[in-house]
Point group: C2
């Protein structure tokens, strides 16, 4: 076994979910990730936890969804499993990222609706979403399998304590600030209030890799234009060069170079899908390239992302409205060149470098 | 996908567990058997059942057992899953049948003890134990992978309705009989009472392949000698040429050509391990060779098996004692040559051929 798989498992167990003796653990991994499952079982045994091992198979799920089609029911036995669980680890992987490309979106939506209590219960536990490097994911990222393995294991194996401290400097500045302005190139200049809202430090717990600081914009405060110059991947399709114009928080104009119709579908989902739910700043510099996987892309060093749709309630301060939407679509701006983040008029990052770091000396 | 995998799944869903709309199904398969999982999900979707897919990984289980060692707890979340389930499908497979060869038997015993409520709950549901043909299993059987696939799919795809009728003829004769005498070669001549006990027709439900008729001997009635001329595989070790002598039901003398100590360990487990719990007659003639897998071997056409240890309570009539033991070890006699089964003095099978069939005409 690649020794990095054991290190990955150790990070999950000791850092991300802080597994303890007696914990009931659910591990859900694709078949390709059996090595990671073996390592997680080893650490679970060391700690004295009780693992149940689910197979997270997109092939099996696709077969089920297509055969059933609709009228999905709440699976009481799966719900009971999670109700009695303390911690939950799920890894993405899979041999083919297009595995679910021929499922009717209505079917997926109906299935998700029926399973909502399962999803809510899972999220009420200590959980970690992580990645196993498969050939399918490497192919999507345009990397060789070995290169992609290096990419994944570098990203998940940061010194998370040091990363926490690095990120905490930005968290504190955001929590002291009222207004954020983001400028990049010729086409991005957007301002928003974050007054009263809370910035959180993602240091590799619920997401591994972690490596971002995120908060919620005050719902109606966003004004300006953004050109998201990094692509996003949605429903198996790549959307490129999204441009959004905000007025009083609402997207009043949008365009995309490719698959604009998919973007249009997002905005049609509900009225709140046109409002930002999240502002995030990617700070994981081990993620130095785009891999068409939001779990990594949104943490990429020297980027900013904004999500239209639902806000994380824990980032929204008392008295501010939590944007609630069935959508949460992250889009990314490259901040490494000709870019500035300002807090209350003060530059906090220029061309990717924060004022609180001496990057040349790294 | 090999079309036989879909047929296998169809047999499981429609015949073995008779899955119905709304049923909560648990599927537990090794990673190697993902194709079977896909097909089972497809049929579960067609029927309108709700599947949960567990990975039955001996590698992961080994890692956990070795790391934890002892002090296993009842996993409440796994128990809750099965309590809310209606049906359960488990397949053996795995890449290496020796995967658990380096686990301390004490560890396995402690783990099994802690999980007993899970096991009891599973067995209280509609369940099916079946096989996925892996390279490891083919290797154990001494067959090429393709030959082994043919062997497995032939064995599970009998016309189960016809097989049921064929077997029912023996069931009725056994249920009318009081004494069974089995003679084979120079070394096997054993008699036992089955008076009051019930013979059951295994037509591919809880076991797939099925293909045996089985009952319980009256505990203290077994007299004589048996030479089990087919080997058995236990704790990763092959036991050959077991010879047992019975007096008043009890094994009073035993020997084996290889690994006699393992056999001796079985008899030391508890006092009831020296008594027969089962007499079975293998009637699945698609299983025409030994494969070191009791799920198949005990169903092999033209064989008889006897198990020392626990009896199936449903085979023991009122007033007869149910032999209760922590062991249940099946051993097989080849009946294809120089062999006879007699019921109350009447020959019911000679050299593998039953009196109720015209085998030449097949």
């Amino acid at each position: 076994m690649d020794p990095r798989i054991r290190e990955h498992a150790e990070t999950i167990v000791e850092h991300s979910i802080e597994l303890e003796a007696g914990d009931n653990l659910v591990i859900q991994l694709p078949s390709e990730a059996e090595d990671l499952a073996v390592a997680l079982h080893e650490y679970a045994g060391d700690v004295g936890a009780n693992p149940v091992y689910l197979n997270n198979s997109e092939r099996a799920e696709r077969a089920y969804l297509r055969a059933r089609g609709d009228d999905f029911e709440l699976p009481d036995h799966e719900l009971a499993l999670y109700e009695e669980a303390d911690a939950f680890v799920i890894a993405r992987g899979g041999g083919n990222v297009s595995e679910k490309s021929d499922i009717d979106p209505e079917t997926t939506a109906d299935h998700n609706r029926a399973r909502r209590p399962v999803q809510r219960t899972r999220l009420s536990k200590t959980w970690c979403l992580t990645q196993f490097p498969t050939e399918g994911r490497a192919q999507l990222a345009g990397m060789s399998t070995e290169e992609y393995e290096n990419f994944v294991y570098d990203a998940v194996s940061l010194d998370w304590e040091a990363q926490h401290e690095f990120q905490q400097q930005l968290v504190e500045r955001l929590n002291d600030a009222e207004e954020v302005r983001i400028r990049s190139g010729e086409e991005t200049d957007v301002t928003m209030s974050i007054a009263g809202n809370t910035a959180l430090n993602d240091d590799g717990r619920a997401n591994l890799p972690g490596g971002e600081v995120f908060t919620a914009p005050v719902r109606d405060s966003v004004e300006g234009e953004v050109h998201f110059d990094l692509p996003l991947y949605r429903q198996g399709r790549e959307i490129e060069d999204v441009r959004l114009t905000f007025e009083e928080g609402r997207v009043v104009d949008f365009s995309a170079e490719r698959n604009e119709a998919v973007l249009s579908g997002v905005f049609d989902t509900d009225a709140s899908a046109r409002y930002l739910g999240e502002l995030g700043i990617g700070m994981n510099r081990a993620i130095d390239r785009f891999s068409y996987n939001m779990l990594f892309d949104e943490k990429m060093g020297d980027t900013v992302h904004m999500a239209v749709g639902s806000a994380y309630p824990e980032t929204v301060g008392e008295g501010n409205e939590v944007n609630e939407s069935a959508e949460h679509v992250d889009m990314i701006v490259d901040m490494s060149e000709d870019s500035v983040i300002e807090l209350d008029g003060e530059v906090v990052q220029r061309d990717g470098t924060f004022i609180f770091e001496d990057r040349e000396a790294e």
